[in-house]
Subunit: 343 residues, 2 copies
């Protein structure tokens, strides 16, 4: 169609010629650079400089079987991904580590089944040395599919399928448990919870933490106080309104997400209950929402950046050492006490 000024594209060969050495020696200089005399090295580096040589990655990949890039797969609608600070923090953590190891991060966001199919081809096509997968939904087939292939995989968040996969997760059970213990310690004894969708590991884990804390405190587990939600404000508002009608004696709520806590707050206000005097609230996430709520929410803080870093570290190790041992890392959470629990 027209001019496409492809430069002569310097090769190892050209550099070798310029430096008066063999291809092998240039290769040694370009890479780790073992076993090259300082004199030779200087000559070669000069030639590389002069010629503006850059190695051809395809050729290198072909023989080393490595691409020096890893994928971050997030099977969520782009609207979600870009709307949620969670992913911003995760990506930041991941990049922190990857930049050191000179691994490129490739973001892959399959939107449709056909995208997933293309993705599968992309992965098995040897484009990537490893995959970081953020698995949110229980029915997601990707973790199992990927762990069946030979490519190293690290999952963010506990996968629901019991597959033998390395993963990093925050301590959802422990976090929820300490949130509810906090409420028990404040003398609350009719503690309800707003859960996420229970097919998601994160939701199930937080519910389990809630139950454990009740048991710890010698409080009975009442299924009527476990309100199934979807992590969103809207539903939480409805559920809480219902709850107040059915169980007017409730004196505390543990919400499994900040938006749900905000919904609960609205329902309580509508019902004329004061927070924290009549009903104390603790939630999970410690997002910006927790701080801007009225009153500010006590919430469980999660080390999302650290989760990203740990995922990247794990994957780097697997890629570098060809290490396929499945590891699991659980990161501690922290309770931040604010006005909503009387802090």
């Amino acid at each position: 169609m027209s001019e496409f000024l492809a430069k002569p594209a310097m090769t190892l060969e050209a550099v070798a010629l310029e430096a008066g050495v063999s291809r092998a020696t240039v290769s040694r200089v370009v890479n780790g650079g073992n076993r090259v005399s300082p004199a030779t090295r200087a000559v070669v580096e000069g030639a590389i400089q002069r010629l503006g040589y850059t190695p051809n990655r395809a050729a290198r990949s072909l023989v080393t079987r490595r691409t020096d890039s890893v994928g971050l797969v997030i099977p969520e609608p782009t609207g979600h991904i870009f709307g949620d600070p969670f992913f911003a923090r995760l990506v930041r953590g991941i990049s922190d580590i990857l930049s050191h190891g000179d691994l490129q991060l490739v973001l892959l966001t399959p939107q449709s089944p056909s995208d997933v199919e293309r993705l599968a081809r992309y992965l098995t096509g040897g484009h990537l040395d490893g995959v970081l997968l953020v698995s949110l939904h229980g029915q997601d087939p990707l973790p199992a599919f990927l762990s069946a292939s030979t490519i190293p995989v690290v999952v963010g968040g506990r996968p629901t399928s019991g597959a033998e996969v390395s993963f990093v997760d925050v301590d959802n059970v422990g976090g929820a448990r300490s949130a509810v213990r906090h409420l028990v310690d404040r003398g609350r004894c009719r503690i309800a919870t707003l859960t996420g969708p229970l097919d998601m590991a994160v939701a199930a884990d937080r519910l389990e933490g809630y139950r454990l804390a009740l048991a710890d405190g010698g409080l009975p587990v009442d299924r009527g106080l476990e309100l199934s939600g979807d992590f969103d404000r809207e539903t939480a508002l409805q559920r809480t309104a219902d709850l107040l009608r059915r169980h007017p004696d409730v004196d505390a709520i543990f919400a499994a997400s900040d938006p749900m806590a905000v919904g609960a707050l609205q329902a309580l206000r509508a019902a004329g209950r004061s927070v924290p005097d009549d009903v104390a609230i603790v939630s999970f996430d410690d997002s910006a929402l927790a701080l801007s709520a009225e009153p500010p929410l006590s919430s469980i803080r999660q080390p999302i950046e650290e989760m990203g870093r740990e995922m990247a570290r794990l994957l780097t190790r697997m890629v570098t050492f060809r290490d396929r041992v499945a590891r699991r890392v659980i990161l501690a959470t922290e309770l931040v006490v604010r006005a909503s629990s009387g802090g």
Copy 2:
């Protein structure tokens, strides 16, 4: 370190053997597949199926000099990128087109100067067939750097440097002009504007549109009514408060972004002016904010998804046909009238 069960990794050779044909024939089937008899094709496809063959991309790249992936470079803090719906919409548009052409999208978000350096190496290393660049800041060196290299580039948003680069932009001048014309048509004659940082093309263009519309309506341009902002709410609030003190006779404001319009709204409320009766407002973006503001904002709607699509189309053409002609595409905007301008 340990077991890394690399499968025998099927090759063209193996498939050819299995199918009883030559490598060349298998290659023809795998690719476009011209000039192969239906019978042979069936046999080969059977063999591919049976062996679970996937082409080795590195080997292919080495000879074709193509990687079938393009990069989206966004030199912004990850917090920004993931917090702004703009990027979600842009990525969606881009993916729409790219999925068709079987091009993979690689998201690159250099955070530091050292990241930019690594990025440069990545690009010149031949990892990518082309680059989509979202250039927001005037002083960004990336557009010039990239257009100097041989890799095809399409920029989103008009670059401030006059480099010969293909770009796609929304009609910021035209949009601002029609926003302000709308105010003039409603009989407003003391119209102020809240601008963005004027080193950004988008801000400069919107200011130009404002001035043109005033001229169109026979209204004088008064520099005292041009309030320099930064696209954010906070500053806009201060500037508007100042303005009302200095020019109490203002009867309309054109804000170059929705958040700034919200800031203006707050300042007007504090000053006891009613909107739209005392002061009419039109803003730019038509984000979710415009709808949720009180009163809802008249705003200029931008075709962000279409911008993404057009960028992808342009780049695809450049990559496929080795076409380096610089093209520029300007997309029309649309005024959405709501209560803030008395609609």
